[in-house]
């Protein structure tokens, strides 16, 4: 079967979507124990700006 450019592009787009899922998984779900305490601290610090 001849692979046309359009079919190849569709395949590449599917791969692109899958790759984004993989990078999402690796960034947010694979443990990075030293990152999250700082992110949580940063998120919790916003209310301080509006106190007092």
């Amino acid at each position: 079967m001849r692979i046309t450019s359009d079919r190849l592009k569709t395949l590449l787009l599917a791969l692109y979507g899958a790759a984004i899922l993989v990078t999402l998984w690796f960034y947010f779900l694979v443990p990075a124990p030293e990152r999250w305490p700082f992110v949580i601290r940063a998120l919790k610090s916003w209310p301080i700006l509006f106190q007092g």
Binding site: I20, Y27, A32, V39, W46, I48
Partner: protein
């Protein structure tokens, strides 16, 4: 009230930049037929010419030894008035009838988020003094020495501040300009905000030139700008943001669809500023010239070798004239244009105390031992904090590109390259390949700050992928855009207060100096206690134990700072101090250079009658010194 003064000074500075830029923009509008490059080309070139004008005036006056604020302001004003006068009767472009497209709410949401982030960092830029490690060591002190000596020359400084004499100076000259505008160093890094805008305009134009749709280019540009280390560079007077902004500018001009003499000049001046930003700028200029060659071959059919060589020679000549001085100076002083870095160029080895491996170890000893793919994977995935201090900062060693670059950027880089090949978009493919190749081979890729030049490639890749997705499947495009908006929202919330204490920000913005809780104050404002304690016209001596020089200047730079080493002994030091009229002494808490540790701590204890404590609390103490 104090903050209001700073905001007014910031508004005044913004007007100065705006008027100079407007002068060039109006002139280019006048010559529109010659440029023919469209609104983005004209606006970007006006910006590049504005920076070039400021840079050239200060460089020429500095080298001539007549670097006076009044002269700098008069010459710049004169140039701008002349430009506006010459262009006063320029042909006005007929207004094109505006086409009303349906509102793209996702683009509106992203631009709104980008606007909020920019406004937040602009407020921090104005509310706080400049705030990166190297700013205190040599970037701002360089500008102070230039202003006080009215010249650009070699200064007698401690070895640890050698960057004052050996680094390329672009941001420093913008800092000099900023000082002359407000006569204070409080807003010394204000120019960084302007260069951030320059980056946005350049990257948008680059995406468009490489085949992206307008919507794709907008998303690619704004998403790439949410790399935390890039945002934090707006709070610093380091040269990494200038490097990134002028690389994107030069590359955008190099691949421009409108070719001609004005385009070559645009590439040349942007490359010259790029060379002036960092000593590694030469590698990026090589990418720009290669991009120019590929675009010239692709866009101009039947281009001859002679014509091509002539164009490259023109670009190289302009770049060398504008940006070559620092390399010539280094060769004359250190016998190597790239000092202190070891380098090899065309088979010639230039020695220097910092080799590639030494630099990598210095930047990140842990990751320098890892293979490149492992090191970059961990860095881009942002696995660790910065030595337990913070996640994001100007000098982040283990993080800094943010989730956009990892989650969307990495897949986009690979796929956009493949799509460019399939579409025979050779210019885009070669640009992506060259930037990625140089990034992988660059020893500085261990530091996100030093390798910010990857961001324009990330932007182009995301823009090209969104363009391709929009053509194939609109719902998929919406999903990717929503993901991008979610990632930048998260990035802003996680990064906006990272390097500064939130209590300090609240106090700085909303409380009077008397109400501030100094226990939570950052070291940035803590410096001010020492700085304001230095009397006008004081002469402050420091030795090799002092790392941060910037706190030794008053904010109005109305005092001298002299390096007086303590290695020759107490009596010799006293004689030298008397000859220099030293009135104050800075004492570091610990030796921070490779030279012998300071004797001053011991002398203060042994000869207490000569010293009176004035202030302490930064990285050392300040004493009044009596002969």
């Amino acid at each position: 009230m104090v903050l209001l003064k700073y905001f007014l000074e910031a508004a005044l500075s913004a007007c100065a930049y705006g008027i100079i830029c407007f002068g060039w923009w109006r002139t280019l509008q006048h010559r529109r037929n010659a440029s023919g490059g469209g609104a983005n080309f004209t606006l970007l070139l006006a910006g590049a010419l504005m920076w070039t004008q400021i840079f050239c005036v200060i460089l020429v006056l500095g080298l001539a030894g007549i670097l006076y604020g009044s002269l700098v302001l008069c010459i710049n004003a004169g140039i701008t008035v002349t430009l506006l006068w010459l262009a006063r009767r320029g042909p006005r472009e007929p207004r094109k009838p505006s086409v009303r497209n349906p509102i793209d709410w996702l683009s509106v949401a992203l631009v709104a988020l980008g606007g909020i982030a920019f406004a937040w960092f602009a407020v921090l830029n104005i509310a706080y003094p400049t705030g990166a490690y190297d700013d205190f060591v040599y970037h701002v002190p360089t500008a102070a020495y230039f202003v006080q000596s009215h010249s650009i020359q070699i200064f007698h400084v401690a070895p640890v501040q050698d960057g004052i004499n050996s680094a390329a100076k672009l941001g420093e000259l913008f800092s000099v300009w900023q000082f002359f505008l407000t006569l204070s160093d409080r807003l010394i890094d204000f120019w960084a905000l302007g260069l951030f805008v320059q980056y946005l305009i350049a990257v948008y134009g680059l995406c468009r030139e490489l085949g992206s749709s307008a919507r794709g280019a907008l998303f690619g540009t704004v998403l790439s700008a949410f790399a935390p280390v890039l945002l934090f560079q707006t709070l610093s007077s380091q040269n990494d943001l200038p490097m990134c902004a002028f690389f994107a500018t030069a590359l955008r001009f190099a691949v421009a669809s409108s070719r001609g003499w004005l385009q070559r000049i645009a590439v040349g001046i942007s490359s010259g500023l790029l060379l002036s930003s960092k000593l590694s700028g030469g590698v990026l200029v090589a990418i720009v010239i290669a991009g120019f060659v590929v675009a010239e071959a692709g866009r101009t059919r039947r281009v001859g070798f002679g014509e091509m060589a002539k164009s490259i020679a023109v670009i190289a000549l302009i770049a060398a004239v504008l940006g070559g001085w620092w390399y010539v100076r280094n060769y004359r002083v250190y016998r190597s244009p790239f000092y202190p870095f070891e380098a090899k160029l065309a088979g010639i080895r230039f020695p220097g105390p910092i080799s590639n491996s030494a630099e990598m170890f210095m930047l990140n000893p842990e990751y320098s031992a890892l293979p490149v793919p492992v090191r970059l994977w961990r860095l881009w995935r942002e696995e660790k904090s910065h030595y337990g201090l913070w996640l994001y900062n100007s000098d982040s060693a283990y993080a800094g590109f943010g989730p956009v670059c990892f989650v969307l950027g990495l897949p986009s880089l690979a796929m956009a390259f493949a799509f460019s090949l399939l579409d025979r978009n050779w210019v885009a493919a070669s640009v992506l390949l060259m930037i990625a190749g140089v990034y992988l081979a660059f020893a500085g890729n261990i530091s996100p700050r030093l390798s910010l030049f990857i961001l324009p490639a990330v932007a182009v890749a995301i823009a090209l992928m969104l363009t391709a997705i929009d053509q194939a499947s609109a719902p998929f495009g919406v999903v990717v855009r929503l993901l991008g908006i979610g990632l930048v929202s998260y990035t802003f919330l996680a990064a906006a207060m990272s390097p500064l204490n939130p209590v300090s920000i609240r106090d700085q913005l909303f409380k009077s100096p008397q109400e501030k809780d100094l226990a939570h104050d950052t070291f940035l404002t803590a410096f001010s206690a020492v700085r304001t304690a230095i009397p006008a016209r004081a002469a402050v001596a420091y030795d090799q134990s002092t790392l941060f020089l910037w706190p030794l200047w008053r904010p109005d730079w109305n005092n001298e700072v002299q390096f007086v080493p303590t290695t020759a002994g107490w009596e010799a030091w006293r004689v030298r101090a008397a000859s220099l009229g030293i009135t104050h002494v800075a004492v570091g808490r610990s030796a921070t250079s490779n030279t012998r540790a300071s004797n001053m701590v011991e002398w203060v204890r042994l000869h207490g009658e000569h010293f009176q404590l004035v202030a302490k609390g930064w990285s050392g103490a300040l004493y009044a010194y009596h002969q």
